[in-house]
């Protein structure tokens, strides 16, 4: 297991945390927690055969969060020291007292056992240990190989993140963690003399892994060899006829539908209205727990902060709650939510560990676990899923996505769409968007693929909260078949 960055460990973590907790307690806080964080992010991008950008950012900071008579106070800064921690502790208590007249509802936290421990995510090669020019050479090799195969324009980028955190609270929990994630993107564009253009990207998802992912975790060479022909076929493909189709959705596309229509819909803070001004609420309100028929009986969704290589995988969340796995949808019925400690207390249960702040200077809010659709243990292969469709479309890769503020109406596109006739793929169609209502869609789930079709997808940039925060999250799923889905022609939608 890689060791936690010694530069981070050299900070006065324990002393600063003790000073922050002590100052907060002395000033009158009944609960206090201190988070000290350090994140490194590196972004490299190339365009055609040229380097576009290579930069690295690091952020270090500390926050003290307090509860004073049930009212939150929060103060943060970029200095990690005993004096700064004590100052932030007092400032947070002062802010809580100033805010008290506006706080009608008092906050209480669900109980959590005391944890003391370290945790490091599962990776082999620290991406920050690889020289920048070696990384750029790999990206330039990728774009060069696309250009050599007749593509007019190609871009490639990789974002690497190493996130360190030290957490202590007034109950005695003390945790130190380090996790690494990586997000590669490759895109090929073809432009015709007519002015028509289109692009197609790699299906490689971002992952909670190190640099080894780019070398042996995904077959980029094979994908790059196929991409030009697939894109040229898409350019020549007929425009889809709008209507209702049976669809087979590849896990490279379905993960995003799960993220939007299940992941966000089952965040309890949304369901209770806490995100009403910004990210939105949810139709899946607590009164429906245990009764709402979310999808067909094949649908089993779990929240999971333990899965290997998951982007939301941690040892402990940002409120000192140990990572867990739990049911969200069981045999098609809504049975669980994603919680932080305040929400869990309202719900009368233990938190399942979904608090996260994307920087030391942000307040932790409830963020998404790895929310995944389980495969049918004896389900079919992808070929068998397709062979069961008489007249349909096979949808591969994610692209455009949009869903309403209560998580009902959604619209997604993809990287490519293969027409299915009589159980066989017979060529691509283009201009496809699928549009549905969450409950209608998941109740149209007809066949789930087996474990051999299961894959982890994900995103580095899920947004929520005010001030805005981003989080990385993975979603595993098998390929799946849905009956009678509304397919739009995006060209017709535009009025063209």
């Amino acid at each position: 297991m890689p060791e936690i960055d010694p530069v981070f460990l050299a900070l006065p973590l324990g002393a600063a945390a003790a000073a922050g907790l002590g100052a907060a307690s002395d000033a009158g806080a009944q609960h206090a927690d201190v988070r000290i964080g350090r994140s490194h992010e590196q972004n490299l991008s190339v365009r055609d055969r040229n380097l576009e950008d290579q930069g690295e950012q690091s952020t270090t900071g500390m926050a003290v969060r307090v509860l004073v008579d049930g009212v939150w106070g929060f103060a943060a800064g970029d200095e990690v020291s005993v004096d700064a921690a004590a100052r932030l502790g007092r400032q947070a208590v002062e802010l809580a007292r100033q805010a008290a007249p506006l706080a009608i509802t008092r906050v209480e936290l669900a109980a959590e056992p005391v944890h003391v421990g370290d945790w490091v995510s599962d990776f082999e090669v620290d991406p920050f240990a690889i020289p920048a020019h070696e990384k750029a050479e790999l990206l330039l090799h990728w774009t060069g190989s696309l250009l050599d195969r007749g593509i007019q324009h190609a871009t490639a980028s990789v974002r690497a993140v190493r996130e360190l955190s030290h957490y202590e609270d007034s109950s005695g929990t003390r945790t130190t963690q380090m996790r690494v994630r990586l997000g590669p993107e490759i895109d090929a564009t073809v432009v015709e003399d007519s002015g028509a253009f289109d692009s197609m990207g790699s299906l490689a998802p971002p992952v909670g892994r190190g640099w080894e992912y780019l070398l042996r975790g995904w077959d980029f060479e094979e994908e790059l060899a196929q991409l030009p022909d697939l894109l040229q076929e898409k350019m020549r493909a007929p425009s889809v006829e709008a209507g209702t189709y049976d669809v087979v959705i590849d896990p490279t596309n379905l993960w995003l539908t799960i993220h939007e229509s299940v992941g966000h819909a089952t965040e309890l803070d949304r369901a209770l209205g806490y995100e009403a001004n910004y990210a939105g609420t949810s139709f899946a309100t607590p009164d429906k727990l245990g009764t709402l028929q979310y999808g067909s009986a094949l649908m089993n969704i779990v929240g999971d902060r333990n899965v290997r290589f998951g982007l939301a995988t941690v040892g402990f969340d940002d409120e000192g709650v140990a990572a867990q796995e739990w049911d969200i949808v069981k045999n098609g019925t809504l049975v669980g939510y994603q919680l932080d400690r305040a929400m869990a207390h309202q719900f009368g249960v233990r938190s399942n560990g979904c608090a996260y702040a994307d920087s030391p200077t942000h307040f932790p809010i409830q963020r998404m676990a790895n929310v995944s659709l389980l495969p049918d243990p004896v389900g079919p292969s992808l070929d068998d899923l397709i062979s069961g469709v008489e007249d349909g479309i096979y949808i591969v890769g994610d692209r455009s996505w949009s869903i309403d503020m209560q998580r009902y109406n959604f619209q997604f596109t993809g990287q490519r769409f293969h027409r299915i006739r009589a159980g066989r793929l017979v060529g691509q169609v283009r201009d496809v968007a699928y549009q549905s209502n969450t409950l209608d869609f998941w109740n149209r789930l007809q066949v789930l693929g087996g474990p051999q079709t299961y894959q982890l997808g994900g995103a580095l940039n899920c947004g929520k909260g005010q001030p805005g925060q981003v989080a990385a999250v993975s979603h595993g799923c098998p390929a799946a078949r849905f009956a009678g889905i509304n397919i739009l022609n995006s060209r017709s939608e535009s009025g063209s």
Binding site: S45, S58, D78, A136, Q152, D193, Q406, N409, L488, E493
Partner: protein, 465 residues
């Protein structure tokens, strides 16, 4: 230990006596100070204050075939912290491939307030609104209205220095206030957003009045079928659509042929008439109400920005001028590549229609039949060839008949393009300061009119409210 001032950090960075003497260095210090309040269900939920000082160093070094660069950002508490950043940036630069956008740094610029300290955001800024908010919460609780919202005051003070002698400073304050009001059964919902330079410019009472008016409008519901309908886009809805258009107006993509602003057969659509109406879309760093940093600050190169342009003065730019496409977002490099003017990104925008007059109320009163949209949400690209966007109406979609709002039509998913909308504008108000509902986090300095457009595409209904 005394923390070094931004000016001290920058002088260390560009003095040339660091661990290695580089060919050129651009250094940027940004001091961000913010205070915020958030509430839900008539009670405060979170509040906080934060202050950070980040330093970005761009090292530029000669490499085989041109100039390489490396960028490092971090927190600097001491000379050795700065030297570490500089050394790492120079190491990356010397081993890098040549940068495509490499140029000499812009001519030397300076400012009169270089020595001024960073500006801090103080929680006292909220004094003007907290007591009013408390009263609004109490009135809401008594009348069955739940309020949700967010208030933020922040100041970003930026210092920029180069080894060529440029020394620039700018401080941009931003105040943002958003309020969502829902009937207690959550069957009705509306939103008001305001942006300004401080909370003296925010009118909390007016926000409450507007919310209550719109909740009243929603007491009556009217069935509307999906389809193309004449529509009034509020200033916020207009802002979200046209900020999307601005962000899609990159010169590089147009030159490469992969943009709605690319011309068939090569080149760009610059000079083309996009609408017969005298519509102008312009950005001006010296706008008295929307002032933003008047020089390029770039910690990274992309199709829309270049680290080699740091310090380049910005001036008023018309992207659309009386209906004609006049400029695309360009760096000095992409301008040279496409043989076009250098018109970098500017952090504000104003849309105007020469025939626009009156307020939204005036526009409603002179409209026979239209759907009025309060704001839009979850807007995403569907097809870049046409800049087709999809998204949702949110917190208020109303039927206007014979000059009056007569009821709520519920929410819809739309699929439409701001480029094609330009040619479908039928009426407009005077432009006013507004907050884009979706993009206000990233782009709060906007002035737009409310627009009447024909045939806005309501694709399918949404049950959300």
């Amino acid at each position: 230990m005394t923390r070094p001032s931004p000016q001290q950090i920058l002088e260390w960075a560009v003095a040339g006596n660091g661990p290695r003497v580089g060919s050129a260095v651009v250094a940027i210090v940004t001091v961000e100070s913010t205070v915020n309040l958030r509430w839900a269900g008539n009670t405060l939920t979170t509040n906080g204050t934060a202050s950070t000082t980040s330093t970005t160093v761009v090292a530029i070094e000669p490499v085989s075939g041109g100039l390489g660069f490396g960028t490092q950002s971090g927190i600097v508490h001491s000379r050795s912290d700065l030297d570490s950043l500089l050394s790492a940036a120079q190491s990356i630069a010397t081993s890098s491939a040549p940068a495509e956008d490499a140029m000499d740094l812009p001519p030397v610029s300076s400012c009169v307030d270089w020595s001024a300290a960073p500006v801090k955001a103080d929680p006292i800024e909220f004094a003007a609104i907290t007591s009013k908010l408390g009263e609004i919460f109490r009135r809401g609780a008594a009348s069955g209205v739940d309020y949700y919202g967010y208030a933020e005051f922040s100041v970003a003070t930026t210092y920029l220095a180069t080894t060529t002698g440029t020394r620039l400073r700018d401080a941009i304050p931003s105040a943002r206030f958003e309020m969502t009001a829902k009937s207690h059964d959550r069957g009705r919902s509306t939103w008001v957003g305001q942006a300004g330079r401080n909370f003296q410019e925010i009118d909390v009472t007016a926000a409450e009045t507007e919310c209550l008016k719109q909740l009243q409008w929603q007491l009556r519901t009217i069935a509307l079928k999906p389809g193309r309908h004449p529509t009034i886009l509020s200033t916020s809805a207009t802002a979200d659509l046209f900020v999307n258009l601005l962000w899609s107006a990159g010169a590089r993509d147009a030159i490469d042929g992969s943009s709605v602003f690319a011309s068939a057969g090569g080149g760009t659509r610059l000079g083309e008439q996009l609408t017969s109406r005298l519509v102008t879309l312009a950005s001006d760093p010296f706008d008295p109400a929307l002032g933003c940093t008047p020089f390029v600050v770039s910690g990274a190169s992309s199709p829309l920005s270049s680290v080699f342009d740091n310090g380049l003065p910005l001036e008023r730019t018309e992207w659309l001028s009386e209906g004609y496409l006049k400029a695309l977002l360009s760096t000095r490099y992409t301008a040279k590549l496409g043989g076009i003017a250098t018109t970098p990104f500017i952090d504000n925008v104003t849309l105007s229609d020469a025939a626009g007059h009156g307020t939204l109320s005036d526009l409603i009163s002179r409209t026979e039949n239209a759907i009025l949209l309060n704001c839009l949400w979850y807007i995403r690209d569907v097809d870049p060839q046409q800049l087709l966007l999809t998204g949702l109406t949110r917190d208020g979609a109303y039927q206007v008949r014979d000059g009056e709002v007569v009821g709520s039509v519920g929410n819809f998913r739309f699929n439409d393009s701001p480029v094609s909308l330009l040619a479908r504008i039928t009426d407009a108000t005077e432009p006013t300061l507004t907050l884009p509902r979706e993009l206000g986090d990233y782009f709060p300095r906007v002035r737009t009119p409310a627009l009447s457009v024909s045939e806005f595409n309501f694709s399918t209904p949404s049950q959300a409210n």
